[in-house]
């Protein structure tokens, strides 16, 4: 999927109607012709697209238009920092805007305008530096021409160009007219990283002020003139459909203006949200529950176990000869690990506001995939994509959930039926039960130890459903054949860093009918648990310290070893933990970053687990905003710890058994451990930070429980009964 970023860079500047300078920068993104939807920046032929926009107002204020979605990961600030650094903009006057859906904003690592895979900084670091640098050179040239001096004798800084020799200076805002006439450099000179003033420094987020006074606008906060409110009753079973509906009782509810049979559910449109909900409660619907009506968690687990025992699956990786090594091993260790379905549970439930008209449509929502939303809405309404406006609002959490378009379609179809703007807000129960879940995954692991205790073979069978098999045809619009390998099912397992001469990972794809999706850190959310806990079992079988055992299997210069050593040192691994406290360690690479965590855990006699402290070491390569990296590690740890301690979605008769925070529990303030984050200084290319904090925490905690109690947890979430039993 990755598209190599070419060295060439194209840029075109134009003055907006308001007199502001608007610059679009083109980098190679795809072979398609560049979008003309923004009305500027058109290139002569295809192959290059703009992916960042800079606006400079006449008063010198710089606005960075960001095509990536802000869902808490700090991307509005981080990406703006990158542009501002090279632009030499006065940071105190920089602001941001969310961009429209446009090919200009295509994420070069993904190939669509998608915020996901912890890619934003990785994908846009160089393009945005070039964007900033080109505009800086343009402004310097404009000033130099005006003064009749050589550009090399001028300097940009703080949104001003100065010519020291003559003592002249001009603010960026004053240079716009002249700058627009400058022939642009295609190879701007980038700053020496040693001169960075913003990049690599902890900078306060730009979006905090609005998030502490109630003015931040999330999707749920949208208000349009004449807007109505909608609520949709979906089938009790995933993919069930409406057989018949008696809508008379709903229509009798005061305020209800329309009841719409959507096929997959029934929507009620009303003058206010409470009436829509009351109307929805009054609906009498007969469902065709379809083939998923008999699905249950017990049956899924039983069938997965059976498959792991009987089927060989397809090799995701095979090195050496596991079968031969098995027969020669001095000692063999076997174990089965299970990780359940999980819901995303973003704090802001799914919602969307749509205004569908005869000649076009607009939708306002939090989304991680603007072009998919635009294309899907256009297709559903029979409109050209450019007739569909997508207004990206702040996301009250994404975690992979807002890649889909299901919640967008609710509002679109209800607005179409009502002929007015409609805002649809899901209930928490709607949100939990109609998610695209993290795949439930069964693991059958076996390994053999040699006389020195080191593994001579490792065989890992992974049984789960395919996320891409679910989303590729349904959301992204391309086929995903049943026999195609899906990395997201086994990533983190097939690329184990440890030195093991005979190594095999097999994937057995078993779809269950339960919808699957990307859940923060995707495959690594469960593979880190199974492989890092099983490795701990091998260390115990070999009678070795878990840290020393890991290091003995790693290249000492590797980034895995680097973060392990740093986390262990900061956690005081070599010291004895306090009485009753167990310490566990785990490491994982995901999205180009390496994270090790040490967890300190107390276990009560009743099997209750209290995580007291987590020490996290991260090597994510070069940094942009270190405080944001720390925040993402903290958040990733809490997200993963919530899942480890509580997270479980179960199914009975096709029905998701959990609905709200009373039975799908979240970690709260009082249960939050002390968290220390240490960033390993690195000159490696950027890694992601949104997701990599999540994978190591479950195995670190489970390994700590083993250290404290001698009990090995092999099924999540961690249950007291598995510790006391």
């Amino acid at each position: 999927m990755g598209t190599k970023i070419d060295r060439r860079l194209f840029l075109k500047a134009s003055l907006t109607a308001g007199g502001a300078l608007l610059v679009s920068v083109a980098v190679p993104g795809s072979s398609r012709a560049m979008s003309a939807s923004l009305g500027h920046g058109t290139m002569a032929d295809g192959g290059f697209q703009p992916n960042a926009f800079i606006k400079i107002a006449k008063d010198g204020k710089v606005t960075i238009v960001i095509g990536q979605s802000e869902m808490g990961q700090g991307v509005l600030t981080s990406l703006a920092m990158i542009v501002a650094e090279e632009l030499e903009a006065d940071w105190s006057k920089v602001s941001y805007e969310s961009g429209p859906p446009d090919k200009a904003f295509i994420n070069p690592l993904i190939g669509s305008q998608v915020t996901g895979g912890s890619t934003s900084v990785r994908a846009f670091f160089m393009p945005l530096r070039k964007a900033g640098a080109t505009v800086r050179e343009m402004l310097v040239s404009a000033a130099a021409q005006g003064w009749g001096v050589a550009p090399e004798t001028c300097k940009a800084g703080n949104s001003m160009v100065t010519h020291a020799a003559s003592g002249r200076s001009a603010g960026y805002g004053e240079l716009l007219d002249a700058a627009a006439k400058i022939t642009l450099s295609t190879e701007p000179k980038l700053k020496d990283p040693k001169e960075f003033k913003l990049i690599g420094k902890s900078v306060k987020r730009l979006d905090t002020p609005e998030k502490v006074n109630g003015t931040a606008e999330f999707g749920i906060d949208v208000n349009r003139p004449g807007m109505l409110f909608g609520s949709v009753q979906r089938a009790p079973v995933p993919r069930g459909t409406v057989k018949s509906v008696d809508d008379a009782p709903a229509k009798a509810v005061k305020g209800v203006v329309a009841v719409v049979n959507l096929g997959y559910g029934v929507g009620v449109v009303a003058q206010n949200y409470f009436a829509a909900r009351k109307g929805r409660q009054a609906l009498k619907i007969v469902w065709d529950e379809g083939s998923n009506a008999t699905v249950s968690s017990e049956a899924i687990l039983a069938s997965y176990k059976d498959a792991a025992a009987k089927e060989s699956g397809k090799a995701a990786k095979s090195v050496g000869n596991v079968a031969t090594a098995r027969s020669g091993a001095a000692k063999t260790v076997e174990a089965e690990y299970f990780a359940p379905f999980l819901a995303h549970a973003t704090m802001e439930p799914m919602n969307c506001t749509a205004d569908v008209r005869a000649d076009g449509a607009d939708v306002w929502c939090g989304t991680q995939s603007q072009l998919v939303v635009q294309g899907s809405v256009a297709k559903a309404l029979g409109l050209a994509p450019e007739k569909v406006g997508v207004h990206t609002m702040l996301l009250g959490g994404g975690f992979g959930r807002r890649v889909g378009v299901d919640y967008v379609m609710d509002a679109v179809m209800l607005s179409k039926a009502a002929g007015k703007p409609v805002k649809v807000v899901w209930t928490r129960e709607d949100d939990t039960q109609n998610d695209f879940f993290r795949p439930a995954t069964f693991n059958k692991l076996s390994a053999g130890l040699g006389a020195d205790g080191k593994p001579v073979f490792w065989h890992h069978k992974i049984v789960n459903g395919s996320i891409m098999g679910e989303l590729a045809p349904a959301v992204f619009g391309f086929p995903f054949p049943a026999d195609q390998m899906d990395d997201s099912s086994y990533e983190g397992a097939h690329n184990l860093p440890y030195s093991i001469p005979n190594f095999q990972v097999d994937w057995i794809r078993k779809d269950t009918g339960i919808p699957l999706g990307f859940w923060r850190s995707v495959g690594s959310s469960h593979t880190a648990f199974s492989v890092e806990c099983f490795l701990d079992e091998l260390a115990a079988a070999a009678g070795k310290d878990p840290l020393e055992y890991r290091l003995s299997l790693l290249d000492p210069k590797s980034r895995f070893a680097g973060v392990l050593k740093l986390a262990a040192e900061k956690a005081g691994w070599s010291t004895k933990p306090a009485a009753g406290v167990g310490r566990g360690i785990a490491v994982a690479e995901s999205f180009g970053s390496y994270v090790a965590q040490v967890a300190e855990v107390s276990v009560g006699k009743d099997g209750s687990v209290k995580v007291n402290r987590v020490v996290c070491a991260v090597d994510c390569g070069q940094t942009v905003n270190p405080d944001t990296i720390e925040a993402q590690m903290e958040g990733g740890i809490i997200y993963g710890l919530t899942a480890a301690l509580y997270g479980e979605i179960t199914v009975k008769n096709g029905r998701i058994q959990q609905g709200n925070f009373n039975n799908y529990k979240m970690l709260r303030m009082g249960e939050t451990p002390k968290i220390e984050v240490h960033i390993l200084p690195s000159s490696e290319p950027h890694g992601g930070v949104g997701e990599p904090g999540t994978p190591p925490i479950a195995p670190a905690v489970v390994n700590a429980i083993f250290a404290a109690t001698g009990k090995r947890i092999r099924s999540l979430p961690i249950r007291a009964a598995d510790i006391t039993g």
């Binding site: 998030k211 502490v212 206010n272 973003t346 009250g396 903290e634 939050t672």
Partner: protein, 168 residues
Amino acid sequence: MIYISCPEIVLQEVRIVAKITVNKKTYETDADPSTPVLWIIRDEFGLTGTKFGCGIAQCGSCTIHIDGEPRRACITTLASVAGKEITTIEGISTASDHPLQKAWIENDVPQCGYCQSGQIMAAAGLLAKKKDPTDADIDAAMNGIICRCGTYNRIRAAIKQAAMQGGK
């Protein structure tokens, strides 16, 4: 149907109009008196800083003050707030300069930010009662407010910082 007998609610033809005070401003609404006040504040009065998260008082994103006490707007009916004084996130300071707001910025607390109105309202309720809260006080006051981004440790640090600066 008789909903309620109360001086603030008067019968006008068939409409029942309630007068409620939010951030020291009086609003009128003829909404169904059993409507959770959350939706009235958000959809009728346009004060969208108060968020919907669960609808059953499990997450605290909708925390407001009713007569100075932190309450969950999602389970508080319109009828029950007649004559009472409501404060929302938009009303705790005039220039976003409440010590908690400043401490939130100083500690870069929010990530997605969705729950933070509720967090700040709960914290403001705590500081109004305890000028120097202990960790246990903070746990007790804040445990009802879920943050899915996991900003809890920064929230704790920000509350302590605001308390040190005499914040209420």
